[in-house]
């Protein structure tokens, strides 16, 4: 799935003209708002159209031109807000910012052709301004449905972060408590867990005969006694 900002979208169902969705991938229609105009970047508003909000993306389809429509994935919508100040924009609308991958400093129009993928701001102007708060809430819901995809890494234990110097010292010499240190990096683990059950938590970092942890317990008074070597 390529996520790249605003793009053209004209795939409609033959029956009712609604947009064709990727249902096999779980995309569902969340909200339909008729009578919505769209303004891309600093361009003038385009209307009439219908806004379709799905669980993955936002689609605007022209009511009069079946070949005209735009779509943007929620993954690409950096922020959205209700805009009501008439001095900033003539009509109340939903203001959105679209994340654009900047490869060069092109204008939104080069050689007269509108470069949709460079559009950074989009306004959706419903003819019914009382619907703005509902639309804002639906946008919030859908944004929450589209978090960043998680890469293939272990969830809890695989982060390999280093926090302090004492993690770097193998064998943990000089520490006060007798607690085992669990290495964050599996590759430094030498050893075997009891009974081959890998869910038992604590592998040994290093097996050194002269490690203080193998010394006799503190209750032993005579440290010169024979040790098991």
């Amino acid at each position: 799935m390529v996520v790249g900002g605003l793009r053209e979208f004209a795939l409609r169902r033959s029956g009712d003209g609604s947009p064709a969705l990727d249902e096999s991938n779980g995309e569902e229609l969340m909200h339909v708002q008729p009578s919505v105009a769209v303004a891309l970047g600093s361009r003038s508003v385009e209307s009439p159209g219908t806004l379709y909000i799905t669980s993955r993306k936002l689609i605007w389809l022209s009511d009069v031109d079946v070949a005209k429509g735009y779509a943007v994935d929620f993954l690409s919508i950096s922020l959205h807000a209700v805009s009501r100040d008439p001095q900033t924009y003539s009509s109340p609308c939903i203001y959105t910012q679209i994340e654009v991958v900047e490869d060069d400093e092109d204008d939104t129009e080069s050689a007269g052709v509108l470069e949709l993928s460079k559009i950074r701001e989009m306004r959706l102007v419903p003819s019914d301004a009382t619907q703005l708060d509902t639309l804002f809430d639906v946008f919030c819901e859908c944004a929450e449905l589209n978090p960043e995809p998680v890469e293939e890494e272990e969830e809890e234990s695989g982060h390999n972060w280093v926090f302090s110097a004492d993690q770097m010292v193998v064998g943990g010499g000089g520490e006060e408590d007798a607690e085992w240190q669990i290495s964050q990096s599996p590759t430094s683990v030498i050893g075997h867990s009891n009974g081959g059950d890998e869910s038992i938590a604590q592998p040994m970092l290093e097996l050194r005969i002269n490690d203080q942890r193998f010394d006799d317990a503190e209750e032993m008074v005579h440290e010169s006694e024979t040790k098991d070597h």
Binding site: S78, L79, D85, Y95, Q97, F136
Partner: protein
């Protein structure tokens, strides 16, 4: 989940959110979710030159993945506590 919990405690406080596109928005933290999506109220744009169209926005929703920094009120942070909590969480404890 550490920062989610931390930000939940900051709800109601003034923060400035700086996005990866350099836009900085100041507002009252209304809510935050587990992906660190942020809802701000009473928002105003800090640098009005780049995104003048945003001036009028009262409330907004910011996607967590586009946030670069969240600037906190100076007395809203106990750095040592946060430091320890972060270490504990990453160690799986």
């Amino acid at each position: 989940m550490l920062f989610f919990s931390y930000f939940k405690d900051l709800v109601g406080q003034e923060v400035t959110v700086e996005l990866k596109n350099d836009l900085a928005i100041r507002g009252t933290l209304h809510s935050v979710d587990q992906y660190l999506n942020i809802k701000l109220e009473n928002t105003r744009v800090v640098d009005q030159d780049k995104f003048p169209h945003m001036l009028s926005v009262r409330n907004c929703f910011i996607r967590g993945s586009v946030v670069r920094y969240v600037q906190l009120p100076p007395d809203g942070v106990d750095v040592d506590l946060l430091h320890d909590a972060a270490r504990r969480e990453a160690r799986g404890g």
